[in-house]
């Protein structure tokens, strides 16, 4: 996994609440059996018309947000389906982080496994960042996972909470399967006293 330490980048505002994973990556693109190549389909129905032509009004198509690597969005981001394709698509499109006042649980878990940061800030802080991204040209933010802090050049500074172990894995780009397997002895002991049911073992 790609480590996440400190990232500075352009900010794009997606001023909607409850952005669900069906919007982030519509189902017709879930049939690929690879983890790569999903970026071209991110927010597909919002970005492209039914004729396949770019929707120039969609925020990510405004030239001023080109190359944005930080998305600011309304509450309950990533709700709905468990599809990790949503995170793969955002990351493949070039985003390293999403800032919102709340995230759906599965989306937050999936983010952490992909070196992608889901940054929770307060409603007021998100509203401020949304406004700055809309009003200031080439608005940039720094997301500092070492200090658990988001800051800009205009005096904005806010701390964000993150579970310590998740932070540790992100900072070091750790594969958590490897970490779990460090407990091989405990897993084996648990399995010795909790064998798979007989009905499942017989085929």
């Amino acid at each position: 996994m790609k480590p996440f330490t400190v990232h500075r980048g352009r900010v794009a505002p997606l001023d909607r609440v409850n952005v669900d994973t069906d919007q982030i990556i519509p189902k017709q693109f879930l049939k690929r059996i690879e983890k790569t190549g999903f970026g071209q389909f991110v927010f597909y129905d919002w970005r492209f018309g039914t004729d396949g032509k770019k929707n120039p009004d969609f925020v990510l198509h405004e030239p001023r947000y080109e190359g944005a690597s930080i998305l600011v969005a309304g509450k309950n981001f990533g709700c709905g389906s468990s599809r990790e394709h949503a995170v793969w698509a955002l990351a493949d499109f070039g985003f390293r982080a999403v800032i919102s006042s709340s995230f759906a649980d599965i989306f937050a878990n999936n983010s952490a496994k992909n070196g992608f940061l889901a940054v929770p800030l307060s409603d007021d802080e998100v509203a401020q960042l949304m406004q700055r991204a809309q009003e200031i040209d080439d608005y940039q933010l720094t997301i500092d996972l070492e200090k658990c802090e988001v800051r800009d050049d205009q005096g904005f500074r806010a701390k964000f909470p993150i579970e310590e172990f998740t932070r540790h894995c992100l900072l070091n780009g750790l594969d958590d399967i490897g970490l779990t397997l460090q407990h091989e002895a405990e897993i084996t002991a648990y399995e010795a006293s909790h064998p798979a049911p007989a009905t499942l073992r017989a085929s």
């Binding site: 909607r16 069906d22 059996i33 309950n76 468990s82 407990h183 897993i187 073992r201």
Partner: protein, 472 residues
């Protein structure tokens, strides 16, 4: 001196019984009893295993089926979507390579993963169950801790049979009183989400309790727990009782003989202790509930069938804008009576409402009537087992005589990954779980309802209060 054991919730009992390790400064490691696998969220996980040279640790605890993108045309019809066919083939070869039991396309027990788990007796009280699908919460109906995971976590469970998980908070939803005739588990779920919102239970495991929940059948409890994720919950649960035990008994993978007695004794110890504390408690009065219809683009946007599309003026800024966008997408105006909303399509199916009881309820409504001339209606049983049972009772005849299509089992138009989709602008009464933009097909407009309400809408051509239905 009398020592008192600490009163624990159902969730706490299962959580603590599955802790393998609690490393300092890290998330606890939880053992997973049953891992259900389907074609869409698993191929990258199997690739990950191969790339790291890892094996499936417990093939016996891993069970697979194909459901999300298979056609519901008669079996044997070739799959014309080549990318879907490739995904199905990938699951077949992965199951073969790693020795995993697969209920394949041609299996008499194939079906939606959350329908076949319970009906095969794979799902049992007290278990930890995961699947790369958010509606895994369904299995909580048995008093199991069951939750959806992403593909990285699918790989983690394949490799270790464990998950590193932060402990969620607990929420009790206490449903007082009884549901009235015509008000179903689906309406209870929609009523709850309408009240607490689509993020009302984020970070929590819900335990549904109270007389109205106790009175539900296993099918009803599955519908209720299924929709927990639509309130943002990590999982939903109902404590096991005699209804649960009677359902599991004799199922193909259920314990038998002395093992059965032992299992039942354990299951009876699982319900939350008196005085056990929850992080949050929500009370619902069942008598206040009615048949609901969603009017917007998330499952929290609900209205009573007797009501109107709501005014958005009074709402707080971000919610108002969300409601305006939803109404624009749905092609609806505030103040419109719900019963005046006409429909083009009806979908009866999905892991929420495609079990035998759901089909019986819909068939009772459809019997002797005919689908409105402008409506196309389809019934998609949740599994081959459900389909056979329904056919033995003649339900397929009732549906077909009434003009409904009777199809093969799968997820179908719940998420439209297969050819069953809405056309742009088409309006659908659907028994599924999500009314998100484009969920059932780009530009499609989904209204979530119960199976009875869907059947009635198919016949009337618009939503209608099932409590006034003229049964034939």
């Amino acid at each position: 001196m009398k020592t008192m054991a600490v009163a624990r919730t159902l969730f706490e009992k299962i959580w603590e019984a599955h802790l393998v390790a609690q490393p300092a400064g890290r998330s606890p490691i939880l053992y997973i009893d049953l891992h259900l696998v389907h074609e869409v969220t698993s191929p990258q996980a199997f690739d990950g295993l191969r790339a790291a040279g890892r094996n499936v640790r417990q093939p016996a605890r891993t069970v697979a089926t194909v459901d999300h993108n298979i056609p519901t045309e008669p079996r044997g019809t070739p799959i014309t979507d080549l990318i879907a066919a490739k995904q199905i083939a990938a699951l077949q070869s992965n199951c073969k390579e790693f020795g995993i039991r697969l209920f394949d396309m041609d299996s008499p027990e194939q079906g939606i993963v959350h329908v076949i788990g319970p009906e095969l007796g794979l799902t049992q009280p007290g278990m930890t169950i995961v699947c790369g699908d958010s509606h895994t919460s369904t299995h909580g109906a048995f008093g199991a801790l069951a939750f959806g995971i992403g593909t990285s976590e699918v790989e983690h469970v394949l490799a270790t049979q464990c998950l590193a998980q932060q402990r969620p908070k607990t929420m009790k939803i206490d449903v007082r009183g009884r549901l009235a005739e015509g008000v179903t588990a689906k309406d209870l779920a929609l009523g709850i989400i309408g009240q607490i919102g689509t993020d009302g239970a984020t970070g929590h495991v819900i335990e549904y309790a109270g007389p109205a929940v106790r009175a539900l059948s296993m099918e009803g409890r599955m519908t209720l727990c299924n929709m927990s994720i639509e309130a943002g919950a990590r999982a939903g649960m109902v404590a096991p009782d005699e209804t649960t035990i009677a359902y599991v008994k004799g199922k193909r993978f259920a314990p038998s003989g002395a093992e059965w007695e032992k299992a039942v004794a354990y299951w009876r110890s699982l319900p939350s202790d008196d005085g056990a504390e929850f992080d949050e408690v929500v009370e619902i009065d069942a008598a206040q509930l009615c048949p609901f219809v969603t009017w917007g683009t998330n499952p929290g946007m609900v209205a009573p069938v007797t009501g109107r599309v709501p005014e958005v003026k009074g709402l707080e800024e971000s919610d108002r804008r969300a409601a305006e966008l939803a109404l624009q997408y749905m092609g609806l105006e505030p103040g419109l009576r719900i019963e005046d909303i006409g429909i083009d399509r009806v979908f009866i199916g999905s892991c929420t409402n495609s079990r035998l009881e759901d089909l019986r309820a819909a068939a009772r409504v459809a019997r002797g009537h005919h689908v409105n001339a402008k409506v196309r209606a389809m019934v998609v049983p949740g599994s081959q087992t459900v389909k056979r049972a329904a056919e033995q009772e003649g339900l397929h005849r009732i549906f077909q005589d009434a003009g409904f299509e009777w199809r093969e089992s799968g997820c179908s138009m719940c998420l439209g990954m297969n050819p069953d989709i809405l056309q742009p602008g088409e309006r659908c009464a659907s028994t599924s779980n999500r009314n998100f933009e484009g969920r059932q097909g780009r530009g499609g407009r989904t209204h979530l309802v119960s199976p009875m309400m869907a059947a009635a809408a198919a016949i009337a051509g618009h939503f209608t209060d099932i409590r006034n239905w003229k049964y034939q």
